[in-house]
């Protein structure tokens, strides 16, 4: 059966959900093999097999994470050369897309980013121009490289052999030009990652101050959600920039998106329009974000949000 390479996104031995999504997608057009860079594969192999990984190529060297992007692209390029897969799938995260880009250059292949779906004949669907246009495209040169947006498909288990094969990697000097000397982790508690989260609660201009983001965080925590922010809020310094949802920030596609105090300019819509269900809380009934709302409340967020949070907590206890 046709082999598909799936690059695992993981933190140590913890596999990120998007990896299971990629495996589920890959099974539509072939037999997925996971490519695992760095340590932790041993503990993760069982889970990967559960979602259909036939093989797991493990390059365990810590060195792979010591340099920016290039080592993983080199690893994938070597495997593309050896295995001749019919496609390579990566997560459409900032790093995933960059790995895809370098791999495309190395292998002379077409690359499609931010796919929200891929059909069995490898036609990718994308949502472009702020979500206003849906495009189907395909790769016609080299090995199709597809970066798939997290939350695009629902992961479904289907057992695979999960055979582990160790891969020796000798990094080239060029792959070692940009060295990561320190990882600085911001204190953000236990919330899920923004692009991975099933539920995202975002605050905007209406939140009116950094201190008020506590309201957004409390609502998010009551739902086990990630916190996002509009450009207006991050530009004002109310919430850190890496949580910006929108055209120059993150694109999210959760099951549920709550837009609080966000008017819904095209720049913001570009980052959240493919969310499955959208809830809006805004005091301005004319705000364009209501056009996207499955459910909207016209009201003062400082009244509505605490009441909603309390109600969710209460229902959780009952």
């Amino acid at each position: 059966m046709a082999e598909i390479l799936v690059l695992a996104e993981h933190s140590g031995e913890t596999v990120k959900k998007v990896t299971f999504e990629l495996l589920t997608l890959a099974r539509r057009f072939g037999e997925p093999s996971v490519v695992w860079a760095g340590p932790g594969a041993g503990a993760a192999a069982g889970r990967l097999a559960e979602f259909g990984a036939a093989r797991i190529y493990v390059a365990a060297g810590e060195e792979l994470d010591d340099y920016v992007v290039a080592p993983k692209a080199e690893l994938l390029a070597a495997l593309v050369g050896q295995k001749s897969p019919v496609a390579v799938l990566v997560a459409s995260t900032a790093e995933g897309r960059e790995i895809a880009g370098r791999l495309a250059v190395k292998t002379g292949s077409g690359v499609i980013t931010d796919a929200v779906d891929v059909t069995e004949d490898l036609v990718a669907e994308q949502s472009i121009f702020g979500g206003s246009i849906i495009v189907q495209s395909r790769v016609r040169a080299g090995t199709p490289i597809m970066a798939v947006r997290p939350n695009a498909v629902t992961p479904e288990p289907a057992p695979g052999a999960g055979q582990v094969e160790n891969v020796a990697v000798e990094l080239s000097d060029v792959a070692k030009l940009a060295r990561v000397t320190e990882r600085v982790v911001a204190e953000r508690g236990e919330r899920p990652e923004l692009t991975e989260a099933s539920i995202v609660v975002s605050g905007g201009r209406g939140v009116a101050g950094a201190e008020n983001f506590a309201l957004i965080e409390k609502l998010a925590d009551s739902l086990g959600a990630a916190v996002g922010a509009s450009r207006a809020a991050t530009d004002a310094g109310w919430y850190p920039h890496q949580f910006q949802v929108g055209q120059t920030g993150k694109t999210v596609s959760p099951q549920l998106y709550l837009a609080v105090g966000i008017s819904g300019a095209i720049q913001h819509r570009a980052g959240m329009q493919t969310s499955k269900t959208i809830m809006v809380i805004n005091k301005d009934p004319e705000a364009p974000i209501f056009e996207l709302a499955d459910f909207g409340v016209v009201g003062d967020l400082f009244q509505v949000v605490p009441q909603l949070t309390d109600e969710i907590r209460k229902r959780a206890r009952d």
Binding site: V68, A70, E98, I128, Q136, V174, I278, M279
Partner: protein, 291 residues
């Protein structure tokens, strides 16, 4: 939308990078860092953006062209680094004639000169071909530092810095929220979901920036007047030594099969808060099994 050509890596790898300024400075002459800012003209996000039915490429004529927003941050960072370390800023843009307006704007912000890669055969080039063409020009004009926005607002692929670094064989310092240079040493804060990575390398290098990095200046009246006299060199594919058979829509490695406007979302329920808005919202969430 983003078709590409199957380019063998070897054919497009730029010639050995020369850094005519900084690296070759001789005694007595001040060292000049050669900073090239790659700038893309994109359709204004506020205008209606669409694909052309004939070839499924972006209809660039239909929308106002503006500097890609994150590239403005790249220009600003180039100007700041040039001022702090002694350098010259060259704007490099690939695009149709119309892009010259955006090139002038970048010059009016304070860049010294510009190179415009302009050739009808480039139309419809995808990321792979675009990166090959830009890398070829960079190899020709030389650089100590290349700076660009981390993604464009039209294609939003976020791959150009990675592709350029790959083709040029120089360090990839992408998603920078901070850049520091000391001699030939360069370090950045690479923005990540969890915070940031500190990354170190040696010039020459490719840097892409995120909007956190600075606040781009507005062109002053004096800057606008000065920009009119700044040199803009226009290069054709032949001038840049790029094989026309390797770029453009026909050689793209990806192709659009079909496209359509997204159907409008079904109108939802909107309630006015009468003191029970939060409760009603919770009821909706419960009805949809979110809680």
């Amino acid at each position: 939308m983003r078709p590409v050509a199957p380019l063998p890596c070897s054919a497009v790898r730029a010639p050995a990078v020369r850094a005519p300024g900084r690296m070759s400075a001789e005694g007595g002459r001040p060292q000049v860092m050669n900073i090239v800012v790659c700038m893309k003209q994109v359709p204004d996000t506020w205008s209606e953006r669409t694909l052309r039915p004939a070839d499924s490429t972006l209809d660039r004529a239909a929308a106002d062209g503006v500097i890609n927003e994150l590239d403005e941050y790249a220009v600003e960072e180039g100007l700041r680094l040039a001022q702090a370390h002694g350098g010259e800023v060259t704007i490099l843009s690939m695009g149709p004639q119309k892009a010259s307006e955006s090139i002038r704007k970048a010059l009016s912000m304070g860049a010294d000169k510009a190179v415009h890669l302009l050739d009808d055969a480039l139309a419809g080039s995808d990321a792979l071909a675009t990166s090959a063409a830009i890398a070829a020009v960079l190899g020709r004009i030389g650089f100590d530092l290349v700076i660009l926005g981390s993604e464009s607002t039209d294609a939003r692929m976020g791959v150009m810095a990675a592709m350029l670094a790959e083709r040029l064989g120089v360090p990839q310092l992408s998603f920078a929220s901070k850049v520091e240079i000391d001699g030939t040493a360069i370090s950045i804060h690479r923005q990540a979901d969890y915070g940031y990575d500190r990354v170190e390398a040696t010039l020459p290098a490719v840097v892409s920036v995120v909007e956190k990095i600075n606040e781009p200046r507005y062109p002053s009246f004096k800057g606008i007047m000065a920009a009119k006299k700044k040199p803009v060199e226009t290069l054709s594919l032949a001038d840049a030594g790029i094989d026309p058979g390797q770029v453009g829509l026909a050689r793209a490695a990806t192709e659009v099969v079909s496209f359509a406007k997204r159907p409008p979302r079904q109108a939802g329920t909107v309630v006015k808060d009468e003191g029970d808005g939060g409760v009603k919202a919770a009821e909706y969430l419960a009805s949809q099994k979110f809680i």
